[in-house]
Amino acid sequence: MSLGVGLATGLYGISFGALSSAAGLSLLQTQVLSLVMFSGGSQFALVGVLASGGVAGVIPAIISAWILGIRNGFYALRMNGVLAVPVTLKAIAAQLTIDESNAVSMAQENQKDSRLGFWLTGGSVFVFWNLFTFLGALLGSSVGDPSQWGLDAAAAAAFLGLLWPSLKNLRSNLIALLAVIFTLALALVVPSGIPVIIAAPLAVLTVYALAKTKLSKKLEAGEDA
């Protein structure tokens, strides 16, 4: 699964590379983003804002990318407990802590697989993401519109695939459903990049509030399944 996730995400890196070129970032700037920022959502947000805002977009672009990266902090908090790595490896583990590595790790049954899943997924996504970013930036104009190749739909399917293993009890399903509803509602009124970071905590807090009502027993059923 790890290699599959890596390859699938990596393929989407072509799209990022091409979009980044189109936004006016140099080959080196594009590659530094994939090497150092290494978080798809944040990278797309950054080049997206720069594409429309130009030089005036520099500060909003930084803020958007930074806000979208908050979730990695939560994954890191979780992974720190799972991995139990020595201090020297923490900087590397931190860099590999992203949606995909956390999701694959979380989907495993035991701690050994959970750790292995993290390293294999994080490592293969890093390699493929950077490789395909380079290819995408290089091809740039010749790839043309990434959506022509269905790369935007591939990203959507990849997110769904990462979510899928978690949809196994009422509480999780309700959180996911509310997140979708809130996100789409917010997408109509706030700038792109923002709906996700408001809707997700809002969905979680709503379910936490519901858990304090008469629904609590139903929501706890199958919780640790």
């Binding site: 720069l50 930084i62 908090l77 190749w149 459903l177 709906p195």
Partner: protein, 105 residues
């Protein structure tokens, strides 16, 4: 543009800082079941939100285009427990075909 270096470097360090903070905070945070549970719930919510944004939005509008069709196909394939890479590649192919042959957005 050279000004973009500012966004690239500061943005990258800002995003990395979140990752590092999670590993530096004392262990009791990660061993705290409530924090772990909250982070798990937030992961589910964020992945759902990202799926929704990536599938159904375009410039402050909700749209049903070839991405929605591709997502439907992907959902059926994940339900049938088909391999991740096959599903993702199929989704791309479905969207590309709907655009090329049917002229969908």
């Amino acid at each position: 543009m050279p000004e973009f270096w500012l966004a690239v470097i500061i943005g990258s360090l800002a995003v990395y800082s979140w990752k590092l903070i999670g590993y530096i905070l004392p262990k009791k945070f990660s061993e705290n079941k409530k924090v772990a549970r909250f982070a798990g719930a937030l992961t589910i919510a964020l992945l759902a939100a990202l799926t929704a944004v990536q599938s159904f939005t375009s410039d402050k509008e909700i749209v049903l285009d070839s991405r929605a069709l591709a997502l439907g196909v992907a959902a059926i394939m994940f339900w049938r427990k088909l391999p991740f890479i096959l599903v993702v590649a199929s989704a791309a192919a479905v969207a590309a075909a709907a655009r090329y042959f049917l002229g969908w957005a």
